[in-house]
């Protein structure tokens, strides 16, 4: 128990993955020359940005006990809608960005309505369907070919640096993570999201409009995915309908490694960021070590399983502590009222 409790307060979820990031960083800086260089670290942040943005939307959905498998397709579709508009002569940057974000919001709205209106059994199934639909739509409208030619005003999120070193995409991550953290922890809506995930029936009977809360999280997930899609445009400097095939799994992995529960009600913004960073560092480190895709998959897969296992151990320890506390309070009561 002492492993997971510090001075009576519970260890925050992000400490585990953060320590893993630091340990890994230490190993990599000893074993490779390039890891601890500024360009490489900035590279990691740039690579992590897209996954981190998608994971942020995924976190909100997972907090309600749901899941969104369509995130990668939504990101790609948003970029492709922008590409098609560009090809048809729309060059206004604001208009293009609004179209991209609008696509994400629409995609999220459809996911939300399938769940809360048509009452499909679990978003796993419905978003698996829309995952294919959105990807197919992206391929259809682009004729399966990438579209290039965006102006720097749109691409800057993917490649430009602020103050010459910090990737602008990562700055966006910091801004959005801070904002969503405030939303989740300090606003009524945020508390409702946790309550709906923690006990949907109790939330409903407390007068919370559960469907509205669910709708909001899926729409936010779509929106975050489209923002990630715009960052992706900048990174590959074109709209490609075949990019980010594994985005959904990477995002889920980031959340889970960061301590988000599949059952809902548990998870933090900080944990998710740490989870996304861990996956970014592993990817980068294995690249530096000259690893191929196969070994990368094996390592990241193992990390996910380890993280979830640690979570199980932690929950069991907490559960045991809870039972002990209950037993103690009961025996105290017995002593008071013999």
């Amino acid at each position: 128990m002492s492993l997971f409790k510090t001075g009576g307060r519970k260890m925050p979820e992000f400490v585990g993955p953060l320590m893993a990031v630091l340990a890994l960083a230490f190993i990599l800086s000893v074993t490779t020359e390039r890891f601890l260089s500024l360009p490489n670290i900035m590279n990691i942040l740039r690579q992590t940005a897209i996954n981190a943005l998608i994971a942020l939307g995924m976190l909100m959905v997972m907090l309600t006990g749901g899941i969104d498998l369509s995130v990668g397709s939504t990101a790609v579709l948003s970029g492709c809608v922008m590409g098609v508009l560009l090809k048809n002569g729309v060059t206004n940057e604001i208009l293009l960005i609004l179209a991209g974000l609008g696509t994400g919001i629409l995609a999220g709205t459809l996911n939300a309505l399938l769940y809360t209106r048509l009452e499909l059994p679990h978003p796993f199934v419905s978003t698996m369907g829309t995952r294919m639909m959105y990807r197919g739509l992206a391929l259809f409208i682009t004729g399966a070919a990438p579209i290039a030619g965006f102006s720097t005003g749109i691409l800057f999120l993917g490649y430009r640096n602020l103050f010459k070193v910090i990737p602008s995409g990562f700055v966006l991550v910091i801004i959005l993570y801070t904002a969503i953290n405030v939303m989740l922890t300090r606003t009524a809506l945020g508390r409702k999201i946790y309550s709906v995930g923690g006990n949907r029936e109790a939330a409903r009977l407390s007068g919370i409009n559960v469907k509205w809360v669910l709708n909001y999280t899926y729409i936010m997930s779509g929106l975050m995915s489209s923002i990630a899609g715009i960052v992706l445009l900048g990174r590959i400097s074109s709209a490609s309908p075949i990019a980010s095939e594994t985005a959904d799994m990477d995002a889920i992995a980031s959340c889970v490694v960061g301590g988000t529960s599949f059952l809902g009600g548990k998870g933090t913004v900080a944990g998710t960021l740490a989870g996304a960073m861990l996956i970014g560092v592993i990817n980068n480190g294995l690249d530096l070590l000259g690893a191929q895709t196969d070994s990368k998959y094996i390592v990241i897969g193992s990390v996910i399983i380890c993280a979830v296992f640690l979570d199980v151990v932690r929950n069991k320890t907490e559960e045991k502590g809870r039972r002990l506390a209950q037993a103690r309070s009961m025996s105290e009561r017995d002593n008071e009222n013999p």
Binding site: V182, R186, T187, A188, R191, K192, Y194, S195, G198, N199, E201, A202, A203, R204, L205, S206, G207, I208, N209, G265, K266, G321, R322, A325, Q326, A327, S329, M330, R333, E336, N337
Partner: protein
């Protein structure tokens, strides 16, 4: 005939804070139908679970055919020939009758594949013996409730069980289906099975059982041949609890009508229910578990749909469509099951207490943390929630403290009508008194309090007026000052009898 098959001797089962069985003994004999009755919480379910190996008793012995045995899991009890048809059927609705009957006992042919030819034939034979000529490859979901129950009974016939326990088997059956079930139970009896028949319907006990055992307060009260006992005597065995000064009842003059419910109906739960509740009054809802009380108030709170009926609050008709609407109409609903419906266990005490009025705790766009902390601390102090911190998770609290958090949730909304559903279930005496004090103070503030409770002493101790429900209908209404305001009469109404001193 009449040889002891299973014998429980001085069985005691203790759960944290509650003694569920207190030195309970019962003997089931072959070729006999043994009735078991008792108030809610008398210990019947625990007894069944000890018999079927679900619970391991703390003290006492179990004998099967004069051999002392110990069950460490349900499978061992089943191997000893003890089977139970639970009220909640264990039927897989998407599987066929054959699959359900043979679940876990599949018959294979020489090649190691399932021998459906044999199993279907056997299933048809078993169901046919019970007068059900149905195609055994039919899905159980296509069968009626009565037939599904027979499939469960068929399982015990298939395994040639010696003991068949029927836990309130007729609660979801029509009278025709029940009659069919009875003739099958009698057939089982003739085949020499020992049958334990648990029921809330006294008529059934007299119609079917050879002997009847009454339980009260986790104890064995009496076992008698059912031919030698009357309905009234059984009821007096079931009550007979002593009332003490546990209840801090203070008489407050009732005010005007707060709530009027007209003709509430919901198929399968309650029908044609009308009543009124007044300000400054505790209105008790008595009845057995499953009488439709919780369902009625979930319908009122719009937690579930209902088929019909009207609600008037302060003499104005209200259209309540969801729980949020009910809260706007100043109704607070303290649900029966704290863990499933009342609390978010993974959240802190503070966040649970602030759940209902979250939107009122905003300062601009953000939540006002200071006010949340103050509200939670005030609440914890006022309700005497025992905790070192309001940041403790609700799941870490004892039952009584959890219940106080649920109450605390509703103290911060400006409600006028408070519905308490089984407010003291599973909490200790000290916490119970505190819950009663809270009700009393609400009534003194002029609020309308409705208390659903299955504990008669509590109903009698706290209510100004009692409505008794049975089978989804109102059976009786008793004023505190009335002659029928006693355990026997309320119990009689709850068990389907009439009041002894009918009001003129």
């Amino acid at each position: 005939m009449g040889e002891a098959v299973v014998e429980l001797k001085n069985i005691t089962k203790i759960f944290p804070g509650v003694t569920a069985l207190d030195s309970m003994s019962i003997t089931l004999e072959s070729g006999r139908i043994h009735g078991l009755i008792g108030e809610n919480g008398a210990g019947k379910s625990t007894l069944i679970k000890v018999l079927t190996g679900v619970y391991i008793p703390d003290k006492g012995d179990i004998y099967v055919k004069d051999r002392r045995v110990k069950f460490s899991n349900p499978l061992e009890a089943k191997r000893m020939g003890i089977t139970c048809v639970y009220q909640e059927l264990n039927i897989a609705k998407d599987l066929s009758v054959t699959d359900n009957l043979f679940m876990g006992e599949y018959v294979k042919n020489k090649l190691g594949f399932l021998d459906y030819k044999f199993m279907n034939a056997k299933a048809a034979e078993i169901m046919g013996d019970m007068g059900q000529n149905i195609d055994p490859s039919k899905y159980c979901g296509q069968l009626g409730m009565g037939q599904q129950q027979l499939v469960e009974i068929g399982k015990s016939i298939l395994t040639d069980a010696k003991v068949v326990i029927l836990d309130e088997p007729t609660s979801s059956l029509g009278s025709k289906e029940a009659a069919a079930l009875f003739s099958i139970v009698r057939k089982l009896k003739d085949k020499g099975k020992a049958i334990l028949f648990v029921s809330h319907k006294l008529e059934e006990i007299f119609e079917l059982c050879d002997v009847v055992t009454v339980m009260r307060d986790s104890k064995h009260i009496v076992t008698l041949p059912s031919s030698e006992v009357t309905k009234d005597r059984l009821i007096s065995y079931m009550v007979g609890r002593t009332l003490n000064n546990l209840f801090p009842k203070e008489r407050v003059e009732p005010g005007g009508t707060a709530l009027e419910v007209k003709n509430f109906s919901c198929a399968g739960a309650y029908k044609g229910v009308s009543f009124t509740a007044k300000y400054s009054e505790i209105l008790g809802f008595a009845g057995l578990v499953g009488a439709g009380r919780t369902e009625l108030f979930r319908g009122l709170f719009a937690a579930d749909r209902r088929d019909g009926g009207e609600v008037f609050i302060d003499d104005r008709k209200r259209d309540i469509r969801n729980p949020a609407g009910a809260i706007k109409n100043k109704i607070a609903f303290l649900t029966e099951d704290r863990k499933l419906q009342g609390l978010v266990l993974s959240e802190s005490i503070m966040r649970n207490i602030c759940l209902v009025n979250l939107d009122a705790l905003k300062k601009g766009f953000l939540l006002d943390r200071k006010r949340m902390v103050k509200q939670a601390e005030d609440c914890a102090a006022r309700l005497k929630i025992k905790t070192d911190s309001i940041y403790k998770l609700a799941g870490e609290l004892s039952g009584g403290n959890q219940q106080k958090v649920v109450i605390g949730k509703w103290m911060n909304v400006d409600a006028n009508i408070y519905i308490f559903d089984e407010p003291t279930r599973g909490i200790d005496v000290g916490a119970k008194i505190e819950v009663y004090n809270i009700m009393t103070s609400l009534v003194k503030q002029g609020k309308c309090v409705i208390m659903i409770s299955s504990e008669l002493p509590e109903i009698l101790g706290m209510s100004d007026r009692v409505i008794v429900m049975r089978g989804g209908r109102i059976m009786a209404e008793v004023e505190r000052s009335g002659v029928n305001f006693n355990q026997e009469d309320i119990m009689r109404a709850a068990w389907g009898g009439s009041l002894q001193n009918e009001p003129i």
